[in-house]
């Protein structure tokens, strides 16, 4: 059994990797085979067969820790004493945390909307052009860059040097300002604009995701619909408004939802660029700091629960969409 947990040479590692893949595919195949054995399987067997494994994984890996977090949020800093709603009171009344909530709200509204809009516009304008592949690769590029890479990239954009003899700008944005005759700015310090400069980074990353999915959806619009609309005299913006948007609506919802939830959880951008200073912190970063820096597990857990709560409107919107589509089916 030794080789199962300790692989040393590359050959051993790849063997272990193949074993893991085959093992899981085998388990999935076995489940399906067993479900399929009876001629007319009962519904509960079907449901258990298809949902058993995923639910087991989710229950163990996400649901249990989430419940544990909710429990911790009612306990004190080291989890030894019940403190009722104290942590929530702190999280919702402290001026510092109110600012954090406001910032999170800005992030979760601005990032999904702008990333989706830009991704959509780009997908439409490059669609079926000669350079489509290349053009899409450029926008996709930021997705392929790790967070560490992204944070230094943007450092070289926002870096500030004073307007002074013998000193050159190192940050691109300030150099542009200097070329235009405007004094260089400390982008990361001035509130509230600094939050937007941080948001730009996430939009820069997420637009590739939106563009890719939306582009695929646009390509899936059947040609005869497009042709029919063209015969009806639609083109350009009219086509976009009356054909493209309605056709890809479901994908738009998926993209917006996914990016919104991802945005709620993002904290490394803020952590690496301002460490939450200058009034730029977000709930996910405060949660991280309280849990892993201040060792205040109670308050940290309460902030994590706030994240769960913030996602409720997004869920409600999706439930509505789900209902609508059920009616159509």
């Amino acid at each position: 059994m030794d080789w199962l947990t300790a692989a040393g040479s590359p050959a051993q590692k790849f063997t272990l990797m193949l074993f893991a893949i085959v093992l899981f595919i085998g388990v999935v195949a076995l489940i399906l085979f067993l479900v399929d054995r009876p001629k007319n399987p009962r519904k509960w067997m079907l449901v258990l067969g298809f949902l058993g494994l995923p639910m087991l994984g989710l229950g163990f890996g996400l649901v249990y820790p989430a419940i544990d977090t909710i429990r911790n949020s009612f306990l004190n800093r080291d989890g030894t004493r019940f403190v009722g709603l104290d942590n929530y009171v702190t999280a919702l009344t402290d001026a510092q945390f109110l600012l954090v909530l406001r910032n999170t709200a800005i992030w979760v509204i601005v990032v999904p909307v702008l990333a989706t809009v830009i991704g959509l516009v780009y997908a439409v304008v490059v669609d079926r052009s000669r350079f489509e592949r290349f053009a899409k690769a450029l926008i996709f590029l930021p997705m392929a860059i790790s967070m560490v890479g992204a944070s230094i990239i943007w450092r070289f954009v926002y870096e500030f040097r004073p307007d002074q003899q013998g000193i050159q700008q190192v940050g691109l944005l300030n150099q542009v300002l200097v070329w235009l005759g405007i004094p260089p700015q400390q982008f990361l310090i001035d509130q509230p604009w600094n939050t937007f400069f941080l948001i730009v980074v996430l939009i820069w990353i997420q637009t590739g995701f939106a563009m890719t999915l939306l582009s695929a959806a646009i390509k899936a619009i059947p040609d005869d619909i497009v042709e029919a609309a063209r015969l009806d005299g639609l083109s350009g913006l009219g086509m976009f408004r009356f054909i493209t948007i309605p056709s890809i609506r479901p994908t738009l919802v998926v993209v917006l939802t996914t990016i919104a939830i991802a945005t709620l959880k993002v904290f490394d951008i803020v952590r690496t660029m301002t460490a939450g200073n200058f009034g730029t912190s977000v709930v996910a970063l405060e949660f991280y700091n309280q849990s892993f820096r201040a060792f205040n597990s109670g308050l940290g857990a309460a902030l994590a629960v706030l994240l769960f709560v913030l996602v409720i409107p997004i869920i409600a919107y999706n439930v509505r969409q789900l209902r609508l589509s059920e009616e159509v089916r």
């Binding site: 400390q186 310090i189 060792f295």
Partner: protein
């Protein structure tokens, strides 16, 4: 054999299957025979240290000690090298795991029941949290305590002591009360190294008027730890203005964080850090201190845009290759002067060696790290310099360069009154939280009183 021995550790509680035991046994046998044959990876020479102290721990050959630390490449190699004589003596392999996320990850591993054998902890404040909140650290064994008593001053032993129990021996030592400057530039301009705080302020004003710009450069940006370089300056001033006794009361929260004496010291630092005439040379206005990376801040000394930069001894590592670090060279550091010439309050810091179990091989390794043998070996295996110990019995001639010897001399000088870095010793909510953000808020506009009041209000109550 390191690999199999390592995996044996991971498995130790679970896979009790005969097969795996056999493999482990084979691995162990192979390891020990390896060492029987003369051990070291590089040479077959006898160990350069006395192996006798480790015989009391019995037959520990073939065991592995897992060390978790925040010291990554390129500094890590010197540490790994310095463990080799121990391995040659005892046959114990050292598995060195560095991580920049060490501070956040160590408590996670402890809480999950997967602690390392030994962790090199950077803050006494964290050591206290680990002892008091997680009850995770094993008290130092007798042998370690004896070594520390023999080699270190009582102050340094005290830093590794929590609630009267001695847990952790000192590892390295750093001196933070330095001002970096360019001796050649000073000589050309006819400036003298100042001997008192008032001299320093006078010199700053003089350079400002001579050079027509601010003489000081400063930066406190440090990723998610932004603010800490600023806390050092404040701490230095508390030591100088309020004195070491008040300083220690301040750390222990026996006086409030916003005590008038602290405010006074803080404002004294503000005479430089918040004075637009004196900062921020070549880097912008006062606020730019908050966004300038501390690693870059002092570089202006080399090209003449900056004259003075307060930073710890380890800023030496930031100078580009080829810089002449010498008392009459491109850069050097002078002691940040006190109020009078006779006092030598000095801000020091350094990591500590905490163990999470009392296995004999772990205790043997702890003993080695607390010994003068290790200090000397470490000095030799750090040819690039930048490493100093507070060990009184270290042979200074083994240190890599003059600057390290100068730092060592400051550390062990009997007239030096050491104060341990307060932000590292305070509870991490303050020392790695509100104190850091307080610095940033202070530099970007808040008054001293506002800042210290906020920190005092956020001091953890239970």
């Amino acid at each position: 054999m390191t690999r199999k021995a390592t995996s044996a550790r991971h498995r130790r509680r679970t896979l009790a299957a005969g097969a795996s035991l056999a493999v482990v046994a084979l691995a162990l046998a192979a390891c020990s025979s390896d060492d029987g044959g003369g051990g070291g990876e590089e040479t077959g020479a006898a160990p350069e240290i006395d192996c006798a102290p480790y015989e009391q721990f019995g037959d520990i050959s073939g065991k592995t000690v897992h060390v978790y630390t925040s010291i990554v490449d390129p500094e890590s190699q010197a540490h790994i090298d310095s463990y080799k004589p121990f391995t040659e003596c005892t046959g114990v392999e050292i598995n060195y795991e560095p991580s920049r996320e060490f501070e956040a990850q160590l408590p996670v591993r402890i809480q999950a029941g997967n602690p390392p054998d030994i962790a090199i902890i950077n803050q006494p404040g964290m050591l206290r949290t680990l002892v008091r909140q997680f009850d995770a650290v094993t008290p130092a064994p007798q042998a370690v305590e004896e070594e520390v008593d023999a080699n270190f001053s009582p102050e340094w032993k005290e830093y590794g002591t929590v609630d009267g129990t001695f847990y952790a021996a000192p590892y390295d030592a750093n001196v933070k009360s330095f001002v970096w400057y360019s001796p050649t530039a000073f000589a050309d301009a006819g400036y003298e190294v100042p001997q008192t705080w008032d001299d320093l302020l006078a010199l700053s004003d003089q350079i400002a008027s001579d050079a027509g710009g601010p003489p000081w450069c400063a930066g406190v940006e440090s990723g998610d730890a932004t603010g800490w370089p600023g806390t050092d300056f404040i701490e230095d001033m508390v030591l100088r203005v309020a004195g070491p006794d008040v300083y220690n009361q301040w750390i222990e929260h026996e006086i409030p964080f916003n005590d008038p004496k602290i405010v006074e010291a803080w404002d004294e630092a503000g005479k430089i850090l918040k004075n637009p005439e004196l900062v921020n040379a070549g880097l912008g206005d006062v606020r730019s201190i908050a966004t300038t990376p501390w690693t870059d801040a002092g570089q202006g000394i080399l090209n003449g845009t900056c004259w003075l930069h307060r930073a710890a001894n380890f800023y030496a590592a930031q100078w580009p290759e080829g810089t002449n670090v010498a008392e009459d060279g491109d850069v050097w550091a002078f002691y940040l002067p006190a109020m009078t010439q006779d006092e030598r309050p000095t801000l020091v810091a350094g990591p500590f060696i905490a163990a999470f179990n009392d296995k004999p091989e772990v205790q043997a390794f702890q003993t080695y790290l607390a010994s003068t043998d290790w200090s000397n070996v470490k000095a030799k295996s750090t040819p690039g310099g930048g490493w100093v110990s507070a060990n009184k019995n270290l042979d200074p001639s083994l240190l890599a360069n003059d600057f390290d010897r100068y730092v060592y001399q400051v550390l062990t000088d009997p007239t030096t009154v050491a104060g341990y870095d307060a932000s590292d010793a305070m509870p991490s909510e303050v020392g790695a939280g509100s104190f850091w953000t307080g610095i940033v808020n202070w530099l970007t506009g808040q008054s001293t009183q506002q800042v210290v009041d906020q920190i005092e209000n956020g001091w953890p109550s239970d």
